[in-house]
Structures are given as C-alpha cells and as structure tokens.
Symmetry: D2
Subunit: 318 residues, 4 copies
C-alpha cells in the first residue's frame, strides 16, 4: 500500500492533580467547551474545533500528558502505520473504537523520546448544544462565549533530554512530518518545527539535557484569530492572578504568543495568533543558528521567553 | 505514475487598459512590492509571498485576466497533468522555463468555462532588495511599508455564464480540488468554494447566466493578518476616493472582506482576513441553500454584497 | 455666583415593556454589570464606569426614556442651574438625595424639545463585588467578563419633531454645551453634536419632523476600547439573532459604530469605538452641508445608516 | 480676573545632535508630517493634530528638550499666568507672536525642577497639503500614510533629581493641573500623573535622585487609536533595528505602551494606546504604594519597564 500519512493533530490527553482547578482554567479562563464527561474524564474543544475533543483532562496522582493523538489521512493509514512501525521494531498497541470516547480504532506507540503518540482516523463530530450552536453551518459553537475564546487546537511542543536526532528522524522519516524551521547545533538539530499541514508546526521538538525526566511537554497551543485577542487574553489572565509570559512575537514561526500555566496541572498553554502558512511544495527548512535563535528567533519583540524561570516549566509525558 | 496534484495558487496575469493607474493602485494603495519589470510586464508580490510574483500587470487595449497560474506538488506533476488533460481531450500548450519570468516549464489550457489555467512547478524565489528585506529568515520583505500591506496572495473567484457543472467536475475530478462549501440550486452547484490547501478556497466558481461574456473573474484576493487591518484598509481606500464594498463578514468561508475595484483595469480585489482552515481529512462539503446564502452565507454581518451594482462588476477572462 | 457648569453625562433611565428581555440584553449581550436592584429598578454600569450606575431599567406599560442625568462640576452648580432655569421660566423640580439610588440632590426639567434632564453632583461610587473587582485601583470591574464588554457610557442622541433651534439655544446657552459639529439646513441647525467634555459629543440633537411623538431618543451609547471589539460585538449579536446596523465609520465624529436595538424596550444602543478628542480651547464647530452629511458625514465607510428602516426606530422620551 | 487656566499640551521643542537621523525617525518611522522648515527648525505634527506643530526639531551641539509648550484656555490667560507667576517670584520672559512659527504671544518660565514651560493661546492651524489632506472636515491629514502613524501628541513625562514636592505644588497650585494618580513615598509624591484635560496625564513628573542632571525628559508621547497599532509599530521598529521596550500595559493610566529612543537625539518616545478618560468632577487621585507600583502599576502585563537599562535613558531639559 501507499505510504501512510498523518492528516492533522487530534488531541492531547492530560492528567491533572487538581482536576477541578484545571477544568476551571480550561473552561472558564481559556474558554473551551465541554463535549462530554465520562468516567471522570472531561472532553473539551474550542469553538471552532470540528471533532469530538481536542483536550481531555482527568484526575491523577501526578500531572502529566498521557498521550498526543493524531488523525490519519484515511482509515487504512492506521493499519498502514501499524505495519510500518512494527517493521521498525516499535511496540504498537491497538485500541478498538470507543476506547476513548469520540475516537475510532487507534494504535499507540512511543517516540524514541518516550512521548506516547496515538493514531486514528475516525472521530465523532458532535453538534454543539442548541443553545451554544453557531448559526453558521461551518462553525461548531458561537464564538466569544467566555474566557479568552480561542478558535482551535493548534500544536504541541515536546522536549526531550535524549539525543533528539533519533526522534527527529522518526518524526520526519517514519511519521512523515516536514521540517519547516530548525535551530542547528554542532551535533544536529537542537529544536525543530514540523508539520504535516500548512501550519509551520503541528509539533515542535526541543532537545534539553537538563530536564527532570526524559520526555516532557513544554506546551500545548490554542489559536486565536487576531493579535488583539492575545492582549485581551493578557487582561483576563492578569486579573485572575495567573502568571504568564508575553505578549511577544517569535521570529521562528512569527507567532504572537502568551504562555500560561494551567494552575491545576502545571501544563503550559500557548495562546497564539499570527504566524504564517506554508503552501510551497519545495519548502526549504529555515535554518537558525543558536545565536540567531537567541537574538531574533525566540523573541522578535515583546516579553522575552529567555531567562525566565516560568519558561523552564515543563510537564511530564508518558 | 501517481495522480498529479496541484500544491497551491501561483499567480494571476492581468492586462490593464491603464497600466500606470493599475500600478499605482496595486503598489501604492494595496501595497504590493515589485520584483521585476520586463518587456512592459510588471511582476508584483505581497511582503509574505515567497515566490517571484503573484500578480503580473501589463498594458492592453482591453482589460482582462490572461491566466491564472498554479504550482504543482512536484516537477513530474506538470507533465502528469499534461497527459491527464490530453486524455480528456483538453488542448494543452507547453511553455518552456522562462517564458514567464520567474516561472519554470509550464502547461496552459482552458477550463470548460473558458478560463485559462497554467500549471508549473519551478519558481524563482528572489530575495527582497536589501533595503526592504525582513530581518526574519522566514519572511521576504519588511511588513507594513506602504498601503494596506497584505501578507500574501490568497485565492481567485471566477464566474461563468455556462452550465458550471462541467467546470466543477473538471476542477474536482481532473484537477483534484476539494469542494469545501457550496450553494445548491435545482440543477446542481450554483457556487462552490474549492481548495487543494487547508484554505476554504483557493478558487471559487460561480454560475451566473447574465454575464457580459462566458468567462469572467469576479475577484483576486490578498490576505491581511488581522481583522483590524481591513478597517485600516477602508480608511486608506476611502481617502483615495476608490469605491469599495465592506467591511463585512461572509458566512460562507467566514472571511472578513473588503471588495475594491482597481481603477486601472476594473479588476476587483478582495482584501480579506479571518476565515478558517480545514485540516480534517474527511471534510463534508458544507451545503447552503440559495436562501441560506442570501440570509447568512453572503453576509453574516456588515456592508452587504447583495443588491450592490459594484458587486456585479467582473472582468473578462481569456 | 459663577455660571454653573455640567461636568459629564451621568445616566439614562429606561422603562421597558419587557424588563426580563432588556436585562438579558444589557447584562448578558452588551455585558453591563448590575450594581443594585431596588423596588423593581435595575441599576447597571459598564466595567469602567466609576459611578453607581449609568443605566437604569424598570418594567412599564410602554417603553420610553424617563430621564437623562448629568453630573455638575460642583455641588453648588445644582442650585445654580435651578436658579438659572427658573429665571428662564423653566419649570424645575427638586428631588432630595436618594430619590434615585446612588444619586444625590437633583433637579429635573424639560428641554424645549420635551426631553427630561436631571442634574446632580453627588454620586455613590460603590466597589465591585470582590469576585469581579479589578486588581487595578483605577478600574472598577475586571474587563471582558461577558458579552460585548464596553468600557463606559458615552453619549445620548436625542431627536425632536419641533423646531430644534430652541433646543440648541437652550443646550448651548443655558446648559453650556459646546457645539462641535453640525449639519446646517436652510433654517438653522438640523443636527448638532455637543459636549461639555473633550468628547465630540455627550449629546447629539437631530430635528426630524416625521417622528411619532415630539421627544424621542435615537440611541444611548457605550464605548469599547478598540475597533476590533466592534467586529467581535457584531459576531456576538449576529449569533443571538439581534438585528443591527454596522460596522461602519461615521465621518462626523469619526466613530466606528454598531447600532443595535434592545429587543426588550426597543431602545437603540450604539456600541462604538474610535472617534477623536477635542482639547482645543478655540474649537470651530465643523459645519457639514446636508449633502456632505449624506455622502461622507453619516457613513465614511461600511454598512450605511441611511435608507435603513432600522435607522428610523426611536424610542419615546418623556 | 479669574484664575488663568491651561487648556492642553501644545508641543515639545527638541534639539538633536543628529538632525537628519531624528527627522528620519520622526517622519519616516514614527510617521509625523512636516508643516514647515524655517531657519533650520523642522515643525512636525501627527495626522490628527489640529495645530501648526506638536514637535519641533533642530540641530544642536548636544541633544535636549528646550521647551514644553501649552495652550491656555483664553488669550487673557497668558497674561494672567504672567502676573500669577511674577507674584510667585518666578522669572517670566515674554515672546511676541511669531517668535516660534505658528505660535502667538507667549510667556516662558522654569518649573522649580528646571524644565522650561511656555504658555500661549494663539496658534496657526494650517491645512495639510492638498495631496495629503483628509476628505474629512474634522481630520487634518489622511491617516496611515507612513510609519507607525499616531493620531496625536499626547503627553510628556519629566524627571527631576530635586525634591519633586516643590514642582508638584507648582504644577497643581499655580498651573492648575489635577493630580490623577500618584506613587506615595515617605516624604511625599515620588511620581505623579497630572492633567488639565480628561486624559489621565498631560504631564507626569518623577523624582529620581540619580539623574545625570537636574531636569530631564523621560519621554514625549504620541497616541495611536488601537492596541493592535502598537503591535504593528513593534514590527516596524524591530525591522529598522531601533531598540524599544514593550509592548506592555501600565497599571497606572492603563496605557498600552512601546518605548522607543530616537536614534538621532536620544529622546525617548512613548507610542501608546488604550488608557482611560476622567470626566468625574470629584476624581480622587489614585494612590499607589511603591510596592504596588512595582508589582502592577508600572507593568500590568508585558515587556517590563523595570530593570531595563533602556528605561534609564533620559534626555536633558533646559
């Protein structure tokens, strides 16, 4: 069969030591909508997310990201990836439809970095409750109902203390991601922004030897339509006493950002707008030196992510 | 070989009866940059367009759109499409690299509606002049230098007085576009928004029996990052005495729009922001009835495109 | 004593035939906060309004604006105006502190046009409930909590079927308003924008012979910080099925506007941003001809207020 | 006669060691318009400034602010202030109309802090050149023509190494400013924001013992209509390699700011938007402790002004 392909980022599954606070943060402050709550797991999405959920949250003894889910291009791609991964001697587990509410037959496996990825094609696309349903046939919920009100789930940023080259190879060669921008160190790529879509990144991977554990998530990200929405979000977060970095603009990816920590789980969320789209079929990955990253790549302008303790916070991934 | 694929919209080639006025409009008011002027043809692009040009303008005895260009996914796709088209008994002309500055080997043919499309893979990606070059490695020009300052070329909207079903079939089946949203009439699709990218439309096609000629272009479109930029553009255009429709928001595509006519050629330009992206691999085309189109599809809010004389202006396509 | 002076617009007192719907509209959709509800009257203000309330709403058999309140510059100005008005043979009624919750000793009288004005100096400035209180000492509530979320009450626009010249004279000469912009007809001012503050208008007066009664209110207005907030408000209103005119930009006053009708009372509200401030001590009132008003004064760009049935809706004033 | 009153901030007169670079910065980057250049002095204003100029720049051997000009409420106020100042034993110099182009009869004197203030009533209000003139009768120039494009001159922020209490008393008691917000130290006001208009400050005064000379200007400020305009300004400045602090939001005054240094003179400019207006006649000055200033007053969110070397740059005032 043809090489299996990933279509898009699907969801992140989060475990929180303080579920109630995490739900308050993601529902009332970030402004996500809850699709369902089943067996203690809450399924959330943004007003413009089309599928069942893009974030799940449940209570746990420690906080961590259980899993990052991806939709494949076709149903056959799920098994296609299973075979491909097994050929590469990656352990793959299969989960039948409904194991996770809203998600079809799935396979799970670990990246060399230790992060768990899940692949599936089928998803449920439930309507919004009639009270909250948009009058637009191409939009799930009414926008601007509460909180910062992002439109959609955008990307994940994962960190590893291992040699990232193995994971970059795996993401690019086996999973089919395209490298869009990267920071080059002496022994390879230190940080890379990769996508299967026209976004600059569906996933970013950063190598950092000093992490508290092997596999970490630096942030998950939701997208807002306008840069002013980021300033509005800053007002909202500041009034709630929730610390954040930003607003600022990355040179790499051109994203206008706000980094905020979920006070329940410690999981960082990037609220962002701006950025650019890549439609060119012959995109040459943009190479940044470590020095360029520090002078313009990380922060083109604004509240710098560098040298901030808050920027070192990551959450475990399993 | 595998089915050839289009990667993205490339450019529009415009002929104007008043070149000087068109250049003033597109360069000073819209705010495009000029890459080159060769043999009387001016090659323009927006500050975030990566390729040689996205619009060309030249003097002519009448104003019309000569050609709409598209980049294919690989070099082989150009010949792949040639074969495919010839099998379908479409007349295809070949043009060697350099026939159009900045563009590689190309084939040209007409849609059933009479619009000329051009397919090519290779493009030059010239740097900006050092004075205007962005300090960002992922951006061509400094932004916000003049005029409304859009980021990139976005889509084209073409009209036909013929039965559009033939052209829809051709675009979807032969050229591989995906139908994203459409208005359904009794005898088929009256208007359709189609893309090969994650945009809701790279091209829209509308059937309108009353056009002055068979093949028309309703507008070409450039994208601005923020909805406020559309309001700023309105200020700029109003002060120059250039008529426009908008600002408003389409229900279909969710675009925030301003429609303005190039006073040189009569070609309409849509300055737009907002909209949404489609990453779902199983996107169900959104169907709108004619009534829904009129009540919410065309204008979700704002200055309505309906019943405005200005909205009936189209330019000939050859 | 010195000539008494008005400092600023204070509040509007609204009677609604559907109190519940009006409260839903002003609290949930516009996004005002409720300070108090006493004897069936609800007292509302925006998150940046410093005084007790800027809008009151109560149930009635018909919908109308009972009263428009103004703060004077000093306490003595209240009696100063009383004397001045009585000298001018205007009937003045006195109301002791507390007649209206949050408002001190007041006098009430009618303009020649029949609109009731109230003057007072003392106001209560209650804190927000701790949950909603801003962490800023110069801001009453946290912003962006719900609805369109305007910052403050801004102005009122009143209409009269009488010869407006008497009322203009009264507002300018007796009450001390400054004329900022006006439309000149053959027999005097047809429409005038007047202020005691640096705003272009705290009150606008329009002469219109065809009104259903002598004294009408065309709209009350709340101010939003950014023009993008007006577009966000349009999304919110459209999703609720509440009709509005706009977004557009007035030439006169340079305001970016949205006109929306309270579905409970029929009272129009202008949500607006932009505009300019007048600090010049020798401001020459801007004169517009009726023709200039129609071509650029009413609508500089956007969804035109002219020729719209919705724009003819006014509410009675007593 | 009645107590003389100041109506508004008029202009700042700047001397630059690099006139050419300062003109490039203020005209091309900030985006001011030039009204006149007479005897080597260039007179600039923003597109929405109504008077002849709000900034003058000339070449000098050192860079400093020569003078800060204010318009009085009436012509009589100029002489009224002269008498009042002389009674207070302040040295006052008179300058006849035309000494400074565009400005009428004026008096000059020094604050106790050593800053030179000028008072005048008459100003010329020249039209824009027809090419640049707005079609709006209430706006001088077309907006958005170049650079960051602020609407109007807003305020000045002056620093003193002397005991500021004398200068605060002088500004409040003799010149009639209203204290709007202030930071209280053990021996009085450390920093105060004062206005004669509805702005939170036309002038701010800060006491700082460590200044390189007695009288300094921390910044002059121009106002932009929307907070997004500040982000656009950041893009423009970053691309030109001009260092700045921001974007951020002050708690005190609620201003959204960008602080940028004129590379010609070293004079800081605050580009700002947001903020709030004070119309209350009984405004209680907002008191901030030094600790509150540091935690929320200086920076509510964003790129902090504290602990930045760039924030210590001031320019001499004579």
């Amino acid at each position: 069969m043809a090489k299996p392909e990933i279509a898009k980022l699907g969801h992140a599954a989060l475990v929180s030591t303080d579920l109630e606070k995490s739900l308050w943060f993601f529902k009332e402050i970030v402004g996500l909508e809850e699709t369902a709550a089943i067996d203690g797991v809450h399924y959330l999405r943004a007003w413009g997310d089309f599928q069942h959920h893009t974030l799940s949250i449940e209570q746990g003894d420690s906080s961590y990201v259980k899993r990052i889910g991806w939709r494949t291009k076709t149903n056959d791609c799920v098994l296609g990836f299973k075979e491909l991964l097994q050929q590469a001697e990656v352990v793959v587990e299969e989960f039948p439809k409904g194991t996770t509410p809203g998600i079809g037959d799935a396979v799970r496996f670990q990246l060399p970095s230790g992060h768990t990825f899940e692949l599936y094609y089928d998803v449920e696309k439930p309507d919004a409750a009639s009270e909250y349903k948009s009058i637009l046939k191409n939009q799930v919920y009414k926008a601007h109902r509460k909180g910062t009100s992002p439109r959609r789930f955008d990307h994940v940023n994962i960190h590893t203390s291992t040699n990232a080259n193995y994971t970059f190879d795996f993401l690019l060669d086996t999973l089919g991601f395209n490298l869009r921008e990267y920071v080059k160190g002496e022994e390879g790529i230190l940080a890379g922004w990769m996508s299967v879509t026209s976004l600059v990144h569906d996933v970013a991977l950063v190598q950092k030897p000093t992490l508290p554990s092997k596999a970490r998530v630096h942030h998950i990200s939701y997208w807002l339509d306008n840069s002013q929405d980021i300033l509005r979000a800053a007002d909202i977060l500041r009034e709630q006493g929730i610390p954040f970095i930003g607003p600022g603009k990355h040179g790499i990816s051109q994203a206008i950002y706000l980094y905020v920590i979920d006070p329940g789980s410690g999981c960082r969320v990037e609220l962002f707008s701006g950025g650019y789209l890549i439609f060119e079929p012959d995109w040459e990955p943009i190479e940044w030196t470590r020095d360029e990253q520090l002078t313009v790549g990380n922060t083109y302008w604004g509240d710098s992510v560098q040298d901030k303790e808050l920027n070192n916070i990551t959450i475990e991934a399993r």
